[in-house]
């Protein structure tokens, strides 16, 4: 069982918790401590964001985070550094999140080779749709890194099937239209979208974009295998460090905020089994013929 599979191993009882943070926000060492904290407090996988000058798929919170990180001197190879440090301390899932241009400029083969060497298990590239993905997926496969694809509420059934066929690791389900950021309410189509993915793949299906509270996470956990949370984390970090800029107190407050938030999310996604049995059991509905042999 690889580390992504392991992270979802208990998905029948509890959804995987997947926080997203940018590497080097507010600085390299603090970000490392934030990832570490999230993993210790109950995260199953962390997404390590590579800050980018033009983050098209991100809302204001992650944009501002990327800008802070770039101003702090972030250079692309530092994502491997962060992954390598964490890998020495954990067997949990490590996934790199980057836009496509930095991958192409770094060299696709080199990117996945270095990712694998750093102990990263997967990569998410939000501006790489299925049409453009083949050469990059092949390079990822050669290096043994999962290229995790995204599906969206606007994806047709046929597209979802194609995307899921080539999926690796898990399927990232975009909860609603728009960029990353917290939202008060989740799209009603979300459950239908998760079900559509399940018809095409046995891989875990995780939901992200717009998850802001433990209540929302708990709700998503009733029908999805994982919950991805980014902006809500970063907003807490931002609040902590801007309240006490350039002080270790600010950094400690950020670490404490990440710990508290992770613990409350951990609890929220853990109650899955009880709710599932009373609700619709999408997982249980899958025919034995299509499920993965253990």
């Amino acid at each position: 069982m690889d580390r992504i599979e392991a992270a979802f191993a208990h998905r029948r009882d509890s959804a995987a918790l997947i926080p997203f943070l940018n590497a080097s926000d507010p600085d390299l060492d603090t970000s490392l401590e934030l990832f570490r904290t999230a993993l210790r407090a109950g995260a199953d996988i962390v997404e390590i964001g590579a800050p980018y000058s033009d983050p098209l798929a991100d809302g204001p919170v992650i944009q501002a985070s990327a800008l802070r990180s770039l101003r702090a001197g972030f250079a692309f190879p530092q994502v491997f550094e962060v992954a390598a440090h964490l890998r020495q301390e954990t067997d949990k899932g490590l996934v790199l999140f980057t836009y496509v241009n930095p991958v192409l400029q770094y060299g696709t083969e080199r990117f996945f080779r270095d990712a694998a060497a750093a102990g990263a298990d997967g990569a998410i590239i939000p501006d790489l749709p299925w049409e453009e993905s083949e050469p990059i997926r092949k390079a990822a496969d050669r290096a043994g890194v999962h290229l995790i694809p995204l599906i969206a509420p606007t994806s047709s059934e046929a597209r979802i099937a194609r995307i899921c066929q080539d999926a690796r690791g898990f399927v990232y389900c975009v909860s609603s239209l728009g960029v990353t950021g917290e939202r008060a309410r989740m799209s009603e189509r979300l459950q239908a979208l998760v079900s559509a993915a399940r018809r095409s793949t046995d891989l875990p299906v995780a939901v992200g974009f717009g998850v802001s509270s433990p209540e929302q996470a708990a709700n998503i956990a009733t029908f999805a295998d994982g919950v991805i949370i980014g902006s809500a984390y970063i907003r807490r970090v931002e609040a902590a460090v801007t309240a006490q800029p350039d002080t270790s107190a600010g950094r400690e407050a950020a670490v404490a905020a990440v710990r508290t938030f992770t613990e409350s999310l951990r609890q929220a996604v853990a109650g899955k089994g009880a709710i599932r049995q009373s609700g619709a059991g999408a997982l249980d509905d899958r025919s034995p013929a299509t499920s993965t042999p253990d």
């Binding site: 000058s53 098209l56 496509v100 400029q105 790489l128 606007t154 239209l177 728009g178």
Partner: protein, 409 residues
């Protein structure tokens, strides 16, 4: 016709939206269905006589086409080389070539049942063109504009609002055209189901570069016919400025098969090609992805996009469209730099010799035409795409040069 020098094989982009190694659609999954829908609509209405008749009607009666091809006699005498013609896109309604594309895409939006359009704008010309057609066709309109550009082009902001558009400042990144485009794309992702995005240049994910080119090719089609009528032959060279590159692509595209015609694109060299302050994506960039497309791009070692600089907001963009990227790589077109100062000199010279105040963007093409024409015999001909008029730039130029407005200091 085996002796025909026209290359008949040019049929790009391919079915993947590629111009050789360039183009494609590197955008979030949420947009893919909308791009597919747009691709189908583009293909369908390109062949639809009813749509084409409506487009021709508005280009003729509303935009004022065809635009004249004007022989710039005094400029030609001043330079003392090839005969210089100006393709007068500045005489279009709203003062630039941008209206050609805005009309086309607004008609497309209407046929696709969209009630709302959005656009990005740099200098404000595309924003004004979009606000104009939105008013005409009764579409709700939101324009994204860099905060810095809103300051530089305050008059155009006022014009857009007069036309009923909402203007939203882009406050991220460099607060110029690149960031306005980011904001427009982000907004489109969120409102993709009821909103049509009118991109203003030959950039963005497939099918936009081809779509915008097809609505701008009227520039080159008219030029070709007008030159045959006036000179009995095609020009030796056509010259156009390139930011994203829509006026240049419109001029070049119908002439690509005419291999004897030199296609010259002019990039903004800003303060100089050896400084960091320029917008020369081909001259100083390398292939990379911006706004959904593989293009020549100004970027650092790790692919972070670098800020561009130009005296003209319309050229202040760190990329260039994928078809230009391909025409450069294949050698069919040449791309050359013109500095802020050279453009400013041409701005004043054209005003004084021909009584035509060009947009600062177009002044880059004029400056290059003077260089190119000077090296050619007197019976050769050069066509400059005068993409827009300079009214919008008068206040900025007055601020910069001070003095009496005669170009002296």
């Amino acid at each position: 016709m085996s002796d025909n020098p026209r290359m008949n094989s040019y049929a790009l982009p391919d079915e993947h939206g590629r111009f050789g190694a360039f183009g494609g659609k590197y955008v979030p999954e949420t947009l893919l269905s909308a791009l597919t829908e747009l691709e189908q609509a583009h293909r369908h209405y390109q062949q639809d006589p009813d749509f084409q008749a409506e487009l021709q009607l508005y280009l003729h009666d509303y935009a004022g086409r065809p635009t004249p091809l004007y022989f710039a006699e005094r400029l030609t005498e001043t330079v003392g080389g090839a005969r210089i013609y100006l393709k007068r896109e500045d005489l279009n309604h709203t003062g630039a070539h941008k209206i050609n594309n805005a009309i086309g895409q607004a008609l497309l939006a209407k046929r696709m049942g969209k009630r709302r359009v959005i656009a990005e704008t740099g200098a404000g010309q595309h924003g004004v063109a979009t606000a104009t057609v939105a008013a005409r066709f009764g579409l709700a309109c939101t324009v994204f504009m860099g905060e810095e550009d809103m300051r530089r082009q305050a008059l155009n902001v006022f014009r857009m609002r007069m036309l009923g558009a909402e203007v939203v400042p882009a406050t991220s990144g460099t607060r110029t055209l690149k960031d306005a485009t980011n904001e427009a794309i982000r907004h489109w992702v969120e409102h993709v189901e009821d909103t049509y995005y009118i991109i203003g240049s030959v950039v963005g994910p497939h099918p936009y570069p081809a779509l915008v080119r097809d609505f701008q090719r009227v520039i080159g089609d008219e030029t070709r016919a007008q030159m045959l009528e006036k000179e009995g032959r095609l020009p030796n060279a056509v010259i156009a400025c390139v930011g994203g590159g829509s006026n240049a692509m419109g001029m070049f595209y119908p002439l690509i098969p005419d291999r004897e015609v030199r296609l010259i694109g002019v990039e903004a060299a800003g303060k100089g090609m050896d400084t960091a302050l320029h917008a020369a994506s081909i001259g100083r960039g390398r292939p990379g992805v911006l706004h959904g497309s593989m293009i020549y791009l100004l970027q650092d070692e790790y692919g972070q996009v670098l800020p561009a600089h130009s005296i003209s907001a319309g050229l202040d963009y760190p990329g260039i469209g994928p078809e230009h990227s391909y025409l450069h790589a294949s050698g069919r077109a040449e791309y050359v730099p013109i500095t802020d100062q050279e453009a400013l000199d041409a701005f004043f010279l054209l005003s004084k010799t021909e009584g035509i105040i060009p947009a600062l963007e177009s002044a880059h093409a004029v400056a290059q035409a003077m260089k190119t024409a000077a090296t050619m015999p007197k019976d050769a001909t050069v066509v400059v795409c005068l993409s827009g008029r300079g009214d919008k730039d008068v206040a900025q130029v007055a601020d910069m040069v001070g003095g009496n407005g005669d170009g002296s200091h």
